[in-house]
């Protein structure tokens, strides 16, 4: 049987000078994780969905703002019952948050993507190949976290920018349009990316700890979506509940994208730091557990 594979061993190169510069380093592991993340179809699908959902929701939000402004302008409500015309609760103030309006659902898509990217390694067995190539394990996991967080940041930032651009013509009719240079607007746009990056880090950690795609997605959705709802429902039971709830990862992180914050709430900085603490804390736990557990 003289097939091409038959003579294969003879084609093996003899072992001569083996110091050809190959070997592990973090830059190479990053490159490997970049290849891995970009060569599965779920990445492209979920990222495209994130952009579409965030921009779509922002456009709807802008349209709703414009419609209410129009309705108010046309009505003859006594001045004392009218909505404020300035400040964060005014329509003009709310319109400033348009770029991050789709974040509520965008975060769920990014959370799902992050969980899927790590948990599918366990589901498919790929993790064993990964851990054999990078036996110290931690560089592989850190590299994946960095790559996914970076992608989440860029997608968040891009979605917010596109949302801003799409919303301006809709808002202009009611003179609600605004400049990126207006106080807090640019920071809010950038932090839409920061928020999604932190969501990605938390979700990767959850996916690593649970090693299960469905379980990880459900848990991430629970943390970012269900938990704040539950807290809202029970917040009347005791004074401390809403106060403590400000420190939940989702609630704290939401402060990041605020254009202005209300007294008593965390500021943008405080909220961002609280969410970062959650993300790094969970990541450290995930790293320690991954280092110790058998694969």
């Amino acid at each position: 049987m003289a097939t091409s594979t038959q003579n294969a061993p003879a084609q093996q190169r003899p072992r001569q000078n083996r110091d050809d510069g190959t070997g592990l380093n973090f830059g190479r592991v990053l490159r490997s994780e970049w290849i891995k993340v970009t060569t599965v179809p779920s990445t492209v699908i979920l990222l495209a969905c994130t952009v579409v959902v965030m921009v779509g929701l922002a456009a709807l939000f802008a349209w709703a703002m414009a419609t209410s402004a129009e309705a108010i302008a046309g009505s003859e409500v006594p001045a004392e019952f009218q909505a404020p015309t300035e400040g964060p609760n005014s329509i003009a103030g709310q319109a400033l948050t348009t770029p991050s309006a789709g974040l509520l659902f965008g975060q769920l898509l990014i959370a799902s993507l992050a969980v899927v990217l790590i948990a599918s390694e366990w589901a498919t067995g790929m993790i064993r190949s990964t851990m054999v190539a990078v036996p110290k394990r931690i560089p592989a996991l850190v590299a994946k976290t960095v790559i996914v967080a970076l992608i989440a940041f860029v997608v968040g930032l891009a979605s917010a920018l596109v949302s801003y651009l799409v919303a301006q013509p809709i808002l202009r009719g009611q003179d609600l349009d605004f400049a990126l240079t207006q106080d807090g607007v640019l920071a809010s746009v950038i932090n839409t990316g920061t928020f999604l990056a932190l969501v990605a880090v938390i979700s990767i950690s959850l996916g690593t700890l649970l090693r299960n795609t469905a379980g990880g997605v459900v848990t991430a959705v629970g943390v970012f979506f269900v938990l704040p709802l539950i807290v809202q429902l029970i917040s009347g039971l005791a004074d401390w509940i809403p106060k403590a709830a400000r420190f939940l990862p989702g609630d704290a992180g939401t402060q990041l994208v605020m254009v202005t914050t209300v007294d008593g709430d965390l500021t943008q900085w405080e909220g961002g730091l609280v969410m970062t603490a959650w993300a790094l804390g969970l990541l450290v736990v995930a790293l320690v557990v991954t280092k110790k557990r058998d694969v």
Binding site: T5, L24, T39, V295
Partner: protein
């Protein structure tokens, strides 16, 4: 070279690998044989650090696997043909593995050619047959052109051409001075491929010897003899390690002497011999004898929930 020293792995109360020690030498193919659940895969996983040992240590080329600067250059391992993301193409899988070590894409193409994956390299792994999956696993193992190659059940799911290819590959790698360590449930395949055997049963090493000495040592030479005066022949043959069994009045099986010796004695004693057949002891027989005792020894101690140790034959 792989050095395993008093390596143990316990899962709760169950001991999967029990203080095993052996060395896998470079320049030859070492086979790793044992019934299902004997601890072969667990041992191999501990060599590359996927499982951490409960006790003992294992080094590859002098260092624990994880401490090498370029692990894939030291050891190439096929532990599980399913260790691949099913939605990724074979080419991208290998490219991602190679990237961790800065191994160039040209080497990725080389191993694809080497393993005959060319026609399916750009297809998603999820649709691969078991045999193609094995070839991809072997391709990944060879990426780093490693000193040491570990293959767990490499011929599983391969067609006859593939089986022969793996045999040639293993022998070729060993002849280049590499350390080749492979497990297989096909005993006959082991006989054709391996130079040295490590036999494991219930987490313990039963035998660790060159393959010929395992065959010789376990099954002594056996011949079937038809003769007109069996008792006279047996009387003259009697000696150390010779035993016999009379199957029919003139038919017997004699263990411990070879056919030539029987013929010589028969000639001298003027016994008419009308059949003289050497009975070959296959590695499979030797292996069964080895593991049989191990199984019997253990089945006297009732251990609930333990897998039944049967020879692997999937």
């Amino acid at each position: 070279m792989i050095e395993v020293q008093a390596l143990s792995k316990r899962y709760g109360a169950k001991t999967a690998v029990d203080a095993v020690s052996f060395t896998v030498q470079p320049g030859k193919v070492t086979g790793f044989l044992g019934p299902n659940g004997a601890g072969k895969s667990t041992t191999m996983r501990m060599i590359v650090g996927l499982d951490s040992p409960s006790a003992g240590r294992v080094t590859v080329n002098g260092k624990p696997y994880a401490q090498h600067r370029a692990p894939l250059r030291e050891v190439g391992a096929l532990l599980d043909a399913k260790a691949v993301h099913t939605k990724r193409t074979a080419y991208n899988h290998l490219r991602a593995m190679a990237a961790t070590h800065g191994i160039p894409d040209s080497r990725v193409k080389d191993v694809i050619e080497l393993t005959g994956l060319g026609p399916v390299a750009k297809k998603r792994v999820g649709g691969f047959s078991l045999g193609m999956g094995q070839r991809l696993g072997i391709a990944a193992a060879l990426l780093g052109d490693p000193h040491t190659v570990i293959l767990d059940e490499p011929v599983n799911g391969l067609d006859p051409e593939g089986v022969q290819w793996v045999r040639h590959l293993a022998k070729g790698l060993a002849s280049e001075g590499r350390t080749v360590f492979l497990s297989s449930h096909l005993m006959s395949e082991m006989a054709l491929t391996a130079d040295h055997l490590v036999v494991i049963g219930r987490g313990r090493i039963i035998a660790d010897a060159p393959i010929q000495s395992i065959i010789d040592g376990q099954g002594k030479a056996r011949v079937r003899v038809r003769a007109d005066r069996p008792q006279d022949l047996l009387g003259s043959l009697a000696g150390d390690g010779v035993s016999s069994q009379l199957l029919e009045p003139e038919l017997m099986e004699i263990t411990g002497v070879d056919a030539r010796r029987v013929a010589e004695v028969a000639l001298r004693e003027q016994v008419l011999v009308y059949e003289l057949t050497p009975l070959h002891v296959s590695l499979e027989d030797a292996y069964m004898q080895l593991t049989q005792t191990e199984v019997e020894y253990h089945s006297s101690t009732p251990l609930a929930g333990e897998p039944v140790a049967a020879p692997e034959g999937r």
